[in-house]
C-alpha cells in the first residue's frame, strides 16, 4: 500500500485528504511549519504530526504539498531529493525561476510530479475538451472562460507579492484549461485592477493568441459581491459552438423553510457521485499513474507553462504592452 504524507495542514489539505481516503493508501502523517496545525490534523484524521520535513519524507512514497505557492520550492526540492512521488498544489510557483528549478529537479531525480491543476478534472470542463476532441465544433477558433468570485482577506492570497493576485492564483486554472483545448500560447495582453490601487478588489480581462492562430479570452475576478462564484465556458470553432454556464439550472433547486422558521432559503445543487468529485478524481488519476502508468493529464510542462503565461499576463498588466511568451523572462 502506498504511503502518503501531507505538507501544509490547511484548507486544501482537508479537501485532498477526503480524496486520499477514497484510495487504497495509508495516510502516514502531516508536516506544517506551524506544529499545532499538523497536530490538529493528526487528532482529526489519524496519522502522525511530524516535527520536520525530512522525517516525513523518510516514511512515505507520495508527498502531497498543500502549502501556498511561494513556499512550494523548498518542499518540492526536498521531496525530489528524497526520490518521492510528488503532488503539488497549483500554481507550481510564484516565480518562474522557482518553477523551472522544480521541474528540472524532478526530471533529474526521475520522480513523478503532478501539479493539481484541478479544472481538467471538473466533469463539465473535461466534457468540453472531449467535445472538441470528438470534432463536434470543428477546429476551435475562439475560447472564452470566466472564473469570478469575491475578494477574501487572507494573509497569503490577498498579498500580491506572495500569491501573484487573481491573475496567477486563479488565472492559472483558465490558462491551463485553454492551453489544454487550444495548444501553446503565443502572446498575452492584460487589462486589470491588479495595480490600480483599489483596496480589496482584483480583476483581470486577459487576451490570448495561441500559436495555432486561435484566440482566447479569460476573465478572472476577486471583485464580485460576497459569496459570488461564477464560471463559464464558450468555445467556437469552424464546425460549431459549445457553451456551459454555472448559472444554468441545476439538478436540484429547493426553497425550504430555514431553521428559525421565519423565512425560506433557496438552494441550488449540482451533485456528483463521490468518485467524480474533481479533487478526488485528480488524486485517483495520480494514483493510477503511479500504479498503472496512466499518462499524466497535467504534465510538469503544463504546470510550468501555467506559471509562465500567468506571470506574462501580470507583466502585460504592469506594462500595458503585449508579452510574447517565447521571449518572456520574469523581472525579479
Amino acid at each position: 500500500m502506498k504511503r502518503v504524507g501531507i505538507v501544509g495542514a490547511g484548507n486544501i489539505a482537508r479537501v485532498h485528504l477526503a480524496g486520499w481516503q477514497r484510495l487504497p493508501v495509508e495516510i502516514v502523517g502531516y508536516y506544517d511549519t506551524v506544529p499545532a496545525a499538523a497536530q490538529r490534523f493528526s487528532e482529526e484524521y489519524g496519522g502522525q504530526a511530524f516535527a520536520d520535513l525530512p522525517t516525513l519524507l523518510n516514511q512515505v512514497d507520495i508527498v502531497d504539498i498543500c502549502t501556498p505557492a511561494h513556499v512550494h520550492k523548498e518542499s518540492v526540492l526536498a521531496a525530489a531529493g528524497a526520490g518521492r512521488a510528488i503532488v503539488c498544489e497549483k500554481p507550481l510557483a510564484r516565480h518562474l525561476r522557482d518553477a523551472e528549478a522544480m521541474v528540472e529537479a524532478c526530471a533529474t531525480a526521475g520522480v513523478p510530479l503532478f501539479v493539481a491543476q484541478v479544472v481538467r478534472f471538473f466533469p463539465e470542463f473535461a466534457k468540453a475538451k472531449a467535445a472538441i476532441d470528438s470534432g463536434a465544433i470543428g477546429k476551435p477558433g475562439v475560447i472564452r472562460t470566466t472564473r469570478a468570485g469575491a475578494f477574501i482577506q487572507h494573509p497569503v492570497f490577498s498579498n500580491f507579492d506572495l500569491s501573484g493576485g487573481v491573475i496567477l492564483d486563479v488565472g492559472v486554472h483558465d490558462i491551463d484549461f485553454q492551453r489544454w483545448c487550444m495548444g501553446e500560447v503565443e502572446r498575452v495582453f492584460t487589462r486589470s485592477l491588479t495595480f490600480a490601487g483599489i483596496p480589496e478588489r482584483d480583476h483581470a480581462l486577459i487576451t490570448l493568441r495561441f500559436t495555432g492562430g486561435a484566440v482566447g479570452h479569460i476573465e478572472v475576478s476577486w471583485a464580485g459581491p460576497p459569496r459570488h462564484w461564477r464560471t463559464r465556458i464558450e468555445i467556437a470553432g469552424d464546425g460549431g459552438l459549445l457553451e456551459w454556464d454555472r448559472e444554468e439550472p441545476k439538478p436540484v433547486t429547493q426553497v425550504v423553510a430555514n431553521e428559525a422558521g421565519d423565512g425560506h432559503i433557496r438552494t441550488e445543487l449540482s451533485p456528483l457521485a463521490p468518485d467524480d468529485d474533481p479533487y478526488a478524481a485528480e488524486l485517483a488519476h495520480f494514483y493510477d499513474h503511479l500504479t498503472m502508468g496512466t499518462p499524466l493529464r497535467v504534465t510538469p510542462h503544463d504546470a510550468l507553462m501555467g506559471v509562465k503565461v500567468g506571470l506574462a499576463a501580470i507583466e502585460s498588466a504592469r506594462t500595458g504592452k503585449p508579452v510574447i511568451i517565447a521571449e518572456f523572462d520574469e523581472r525579479e
Binding site: 473535461a126 465544433i137 464546425g239 459549445l242 439538478p251
Partner: protein, 335 residues
Amino acid sequence: MLENPTRIGLLSFAHGHAHSYTESLRRRRDVEVVGVYDTDVARGRLAATRHELPFYATVDALLAQELDGVIICAENANHWPLAQRAAGRVRGILCEKPITTTLADAQAMIDRCAETSTKLQIAFPVRYAPAVRWLKTQLDADAFGQVYAVQTTNHGSMPGGWFADPVLAGGGAVIDHTVHVIDLLRWLWQTEVTEVYAEVGHGLLHRGLAIDDVGLLSFRLANGIYGTLDTSWSRSRNYLTWGDVKIDLVAEKGVVYVDAFRQHITVSSHGAGKTRWEPWGSDMDQGLVNDFILMLRADHAPTITGEDGLRALEVALAAYQSAQSGQPVTLPLSS
C-alpha cells in the same frame, strides 16, 4: 485485471443499455466480460465486434463458461425465457427493466431465482443518479416535513423497433417509463402505490404509431402522498436531449425540484445539424453495474429486488387497465 475477476456474460443487446453496461463493466479492474449471446444473431455479432468480445451461438455455450453473473438486455418479453435458462447456472442476474411484460412471468422469474439461490437484481439505474440520491438522503432525514404531493416526468424520444411492438415490449411509453419513476417513489418513501388512474394516448405524437406514446398517470401512495407521472415519448428527434427524469415535491417546509440529468454542456454542431445537450453528470449506469458486481463479490442481497421489479410493472399494467375502463384501479392487482 485483478486475480479472480468476476466473470460476466451478456445475454442480448436488444436494449441499447447493454452497450453502456458493457462499458461500465470494462471500467472495472475486477470484472472479466466473457462474451455475448443474442437471440438475434446479427445484432449479437455486431455488438460482440464493437466491444471486441466473443459471440456465442447458443445461450448454453455462453452459460458453460463458468460465469458468475449475466446481464439480460433482451426485448421485455424475452427477459423471463433467458432468466429461466440462466437461473441456477450463475450466482446473479441483472435484468433490464421492466422485469417482464406480465405479472405471471415476473412471479415465475422471482420464484425460479429463489429456488436456485440466484440473486436477481433489476436495472433501475436512476436510483444511482446523484440528485436522486441527494433527495433520498434528505427525505430519510425528514428535511421537508410532511410531503403532500409529487409531480414527476420521465419523458423520452420514441425508441421505435421492438419498443413499439405490443408483444415484445408489452406496451409503449407507459410500460417503458412508468417503471423507472414508480421504482424511485417506492424506494424514496418505502411505500406502495395504492391507486392509479391513467389517460393513455396512441399515436398522438407519432402519427400512425399503433402503440401508446402518451401516458399521464395519477396515483396515490400508501403514505398519503398523491402525484402524477408523465411517461410520454414527447421529445422529438430534434430536441436538445433524449428526455428527462424530474421529481417536484410540494411539502410542509417548502418546494423541491429535482431534474436528475440537468448537467450538460450545450453543443451546436454543423455536422450534427442541430444543437444538443451533452451530459457530464456522474454515470448512473456505472453506479448500477458497480452495485451488481459488489453484490456478486461480497455475496450480499440485491439492493433492487425482483419484487421491486414486479411492483413497478404492476403499476404500469394497472395504468393500462385504468385507461381501458376509464376508472381508477386499486392495487395490488388480483392475479
